[in-house]
C-alpha cells in the first residue's frame, strides 16, 4: 500500500485548504491521514467499544467485590466486643491478603500475570473477559475501602433501628445501611470510576484493541504521532467530563431526602 505524500495530497485537496498557511496545511494532512483516509475513524470507534465494555464490566465487578469485602470487614470490626465467629475471622484474613496484594502491585503487572500466566486467553472474547476480570479485581480493592468508609459513616442507631424491627443483619445492610452509604461515598466512587476508565488504556499489554491501542495502530501506519495521540487525549477527556456531569445529576437526585 503506497503512502500518499504531503505533496501529492495537497495537490488534490480542496482550494480552501490550499489557501491556508503551511503549518495548518500539515495539520489538515495529518488529520486526514488519521481519521479520513481508508476510513480510519473506524479504529477509534472499535477501540471505544472495547474501552466501554471493559470499563463497565470491571466497574460492575469492582463494586460487587468491593461491597462484599466491605461488609465482611465491617462485620469483623463490629464484632470485636463479642466472640468473633470463625468464618468471619477466616474471610477477614482472606480480604486483608487480597487488599495487600492488589494494592501492593502495579496494575500493569497484574494484567501481564493474568494475561500470560493465569488466564492466558486465546480468543477476542477471552481477552475481553481477562481484561474485565483483572481490572474488576483491581478496582474492587479500592472500592472495598471506599465502601467500608461509607458503611462506617452511617450511624450505629440505624443498624439498631433495623434490627429492633426484626430485620436480620443482611436485610438491614441491604435496605438501610448500604443505600445511605452509597449516597455518602458517591463522590469517591465517581473518582474510582474515572480512574478505572483511564486505567483501561493499559489493557493493550494483553493485546486487547482498546482505543489507546487503536491510536497506536494508526501511528504505526501514518508515522505521525501528533494528531492520533492528541485526539486520544481529547476522547478520554470528553468521556470523563460527561461522566462527571452524569454523576453530579445522580448525586443531586439521591440528595432529595436531605431537603428541609
Amino acid at each position: 500500500m503506497s503512502i500518499i505524500t504531503f505533496t501529492n495530497w495537497i495537490a488534490t485537496a480542496p482550494s480552501w485548504i490550499q489557501g491556508l498557511p503551511e503549518w495548518l496545511q500539515t495539520l489538515c494532512y495529518q488529520f486526514w491521514q488519521t481519521f479520513i483516509y481508508q476510513d480510519r475513524w473506524h479504529f477509534f470507534v472499535d477501540g471505544l467499544k472495547i474501552t466501554f465494555i471493559v470499563t463497565l464490566g470491571a466497574l460492575a465487578l469492582g463494586i460487587i467485590i468491593g461491597i462484599i469485602i466491605a461488609v465482611i470487614r465491617v462485620s469483623y470490626d463490629n464484632s470485636i466486643e463479642k466472640k468473633i465467629p470463625l468464618v468471619i475471622r477466616i474471610l477477614n484474613s482472606f480480604c486483608k491478603l487480597y487488599l495487600t496484594i492488589i494494592r501492593g502491585t502495579p496494575m500493569m503487572v497484574q494484567l501481564l500475570i493474568m494475561g500470560f500466566v493465569i488466564m492466558v486467553p486465546k480468543t477476542d472474547g477471552g481477552m475481553i473477559v481477562c481484561g474485565i476480570v483483572t481490572l474488576g479485581i483491581n478496582s474492587g480493592a479500592y472500592v472495598a475501602e471506599i465502601a467500608r468508609s461509607g458503611i462506617m459513616s452511617v450511624s450505629r442507631g440505624q443498624t439498631e433501628a433495623g434490627r429492633s424491627l426484626g430485620l436480620n443483619y443482611f436485610q438491614t445492610m441491604r435496605l438501610i445501611i448500604i443505600p445511605q452509604a452509597v449516597k455518602n461515598i458517591l463522590p469517591a466512587l465517581g473518582n474510582e470510576m474515572i480512574t478505572l476508565l483511564k486505567d483501561t488504556s493499559l489493557v493493550s499489554v494483553i493485546a486487547l484493541r482498546d482505543v489507546t491501542k487503536q491510536a497506536q495502530n494508526i501511528v504505526s501506519k501514518t508515522y505521525q504521532a501528533y494528531i492520533p495521540y492528541i485526539s486520544l487525549a481529547v476522547i478520554y477527556l470528553i468521556i470523563v467530563i460527561v461522566l462527571t456531569k452524569l454523576l453530579g445529576i445522580f448525586e443531586r437526585r439521591l440528595r432529595k431526602s436531605d431537603h428541609r
Binding site: 440505624q158 439498631e160 433501628a161 424491627l165 426484626g166 443505600p179 431526602s257 431537603h259
Partner: protein, 244 residues
Amino acid sequence: MITVKDLHKTFHTPDGDLQVLKGVSDHIEKGEKVVIVGPSGSGKSTFLRCMNLLETPTSGEVWFEDKLVNDKKSDIDKIRMQMGMVFQHFNLFPHKTIMQNITLAPTKLKLMSKEEASEKALQLLKRVGLVEKADAYPAQLSGGQKQRIAIVRALAMNPKVMLFDEPTSALDPEMVGEVLQVMSELAESGMTMAVVTHEMGFAREIADRVLFMHDGLILEQAPPSEFFGNPQNPRLQDFLAKVL
C-alpha cells in the same frame, strides 16, 4: 410477659472492664406499664436494651413469653418483631419517606401486603395526627414529629410490648408534651410498656410500677404513689430530692 433473671452485663473497653449490670431480676406482666428511672450511668438503658438483645447479656436469662431470648438457638429476629423499640435519637431512616419508614419492615418481612401495610400506616398516622407528613422525609420533621413517627413505625409491626429508651431526652422542651401524649394514649389502649425516662410526671401518671436503678442494681420498686410519696431507699430519696 418478660422475665429477667440475674442479669449481668460487662462492657470490655480499652480502659478496662465496666460492669454495668450487676444482677438485675424483674418480671413484667402482660399489659403492665413499667417505668425505669435512675441517675445516668445506672444501667437502665442497658437493662432495657438487653430485653431485645441489642446488648448481649454477659450472664443471666431474659425470657419473652415462653422463649429464652438470649439463647443461641432462639430466632432473635422473630422475637424482635414482637417487641417494638423507640430510641432516644429516633433513628428514622433518612433515605426513606415517612410512609416507607413505617411500611418497610412489615412488607419486607412478609407480615403484610403493601396495601395492608399502607392502610395500617395511615390509620396509625391519623392516631398521632401526622397523616399529612406521609410523603415527607424525616429531615423535614421536627424532633417531636420524628419521635411520634418512630413510635408509629414500631407499632406498625403489631408488637406485644413496647420498649422506650429515653424517648424524650433529645427533644426540645416544647416538644416533650406531644410525645408523652402519644405514649399516654398507647398506655390507655392496654399496651405492655417498659419506659426508661427522666420524666417523673409521666411516670407518676401512667406507671403501674416504677423501678429505681442505681449502679447496676434495682434498689427499689413500687407503684408510683408509694414510690414518690414514701421512698424507702436513701439513694432514691436523694435522687428524688434532686429531680423533683
